[in-house]
Symmetry: C2
DNA sequence: ATGTCAATTGACATGATGTCAAGTGCGTGC
DNA sequence: GCACGCACTTGACATCATGTCAATTGACAT
């Protein structure tokens, strides 16, 4: 563990994440990242072929160190459908602020860089699966509101939980993170459940 | 009215809108717009100082020719709160696909160009006012769900009606435009109204 | 004729990405 | 000790879009 050399790659990823989290709305350039990582701009290209490549790697790296998948999977342990729904919203909702910086950067490239778009869609499909699983749990408990098919319910939940919505609510609308979680949970129950949940 | 010269400006705007509507996800360059308008790239700068400037003007132009404000204002004529809510969602929901191309372009600049961001926020504030008015109408009729303050209800409705959500539902989720309108209306009623609306 | 004004052409600066070539410094194997 | 590979550096360069500037053209108006 005497750090031979290739932790540079990780240094770059960390630098990128720090910058992106620092000010998600400012364009973070390759040279900024390099500077922060303490290497030359060109050296970054020894580790990543692209800006997109780097950003994607950063997302993966972030997912790894925050263990999202584990967090999200944990919501599977909930007994009832509604509990599972809540657990999923809490897990994902708590994760959004952590990934927001990178997400923002990746989303900005989506239209110009195909690979970035695919990578982002991949991540979002994972979230969608979580939504679908929560909906399935509701359906199993015969608690899914009759006016939606499972697909529709999944679409709605998935859309509700989008990063952009989080951005708008916590940003433009000044909601706190806890407000966000609570409100979205209430909203989801209200929209997806067939009976009044707790009142 | 023998068209002295300055319909060029409008030609540019039309060209920009056509290109943006044609393929909203491809970057539309100044030279593309110029070519389509039948003038030189540099000539565009005789009419607009910026790409942002042009895009903003295009939004305004589009708003004018589609008469959104009139459409949205029309929802004021609805008698009951719920009718007003429906009318507003229909009007705005029908408008989104028309503005989607430009909106996309403007949103993409939001982070790099301050003026573009402001212009977009302005438009969105107008929508927000519509949301607030609909919520106020519900409140007046004592039909606003007790679990939300007027502000929260407005925030939710406004977020629900975002261009990004429309994009996700009609794009990624393959909803038809009519599905979109109907589902969102149902959703909004379910979330905002205090009593079951029609069943 | 003359002036104005829209538009044209061509050249150029800027700023970011990405590539390439030559060089430096360090550790390892022989 | 020496040579080699390897990560990295420096500097130059291509590309591409935006935006600017200067000189020119062509039409229309007085």
């Amino acid at each position: 563990m005497s750090s031979p050399q290739p932790d540079t790659r990780n240094r770059i990823l960390k630098a990128a994440l720090e910058l992106l989290e620092g000010n998600p709305h400012k364009e973070t350039r390759m040279s900024d990242i390099a500077k922060r990582a303490g290497i030359s701009r060109q050296a970054v290209y020894l580790h990543f072929t692209n800006r997109a490549d780097l950003l994607i790697a950063a997302t993966v790296y972030l997912d790894e160190i925050t263990e999202v998948d584990a967090q999200l999977a944990q919501s599977r342990s909930a007994k009832t459908g509604p509990e599972r729904l809540d657990a999923f919203i809490e897990a994902w909702g708590a994760h959004i602020p952590r990934i927001y910086g990178v997400a923002q950067a990746l989303l900005a490239m989506k239209d110009t860089d195909e690979a970035a778009g695919l990578a982002w869609n991949n991540r979002m499909q994972a979230v969608r699966h979580g939504c679908a699983a929560a909906v399935a749990a509701l359906e199993r408990d015969h608690l899914l509101a009759a006016d939606h098919s499972a697909k529709q319910a999944t679409d709605i939940l998935w859309t509700l939980l989008s990063v952009r919505n989080w951005e708008q609510l916590t940003g433009d609308c000044d909601w706190s993170q806890t407000d966000y979680i609570e409100q979205i949970k209430a909203l989801a129950r209200r929209v997806l459940l067939t009976a009044p949940p707790n009142g």
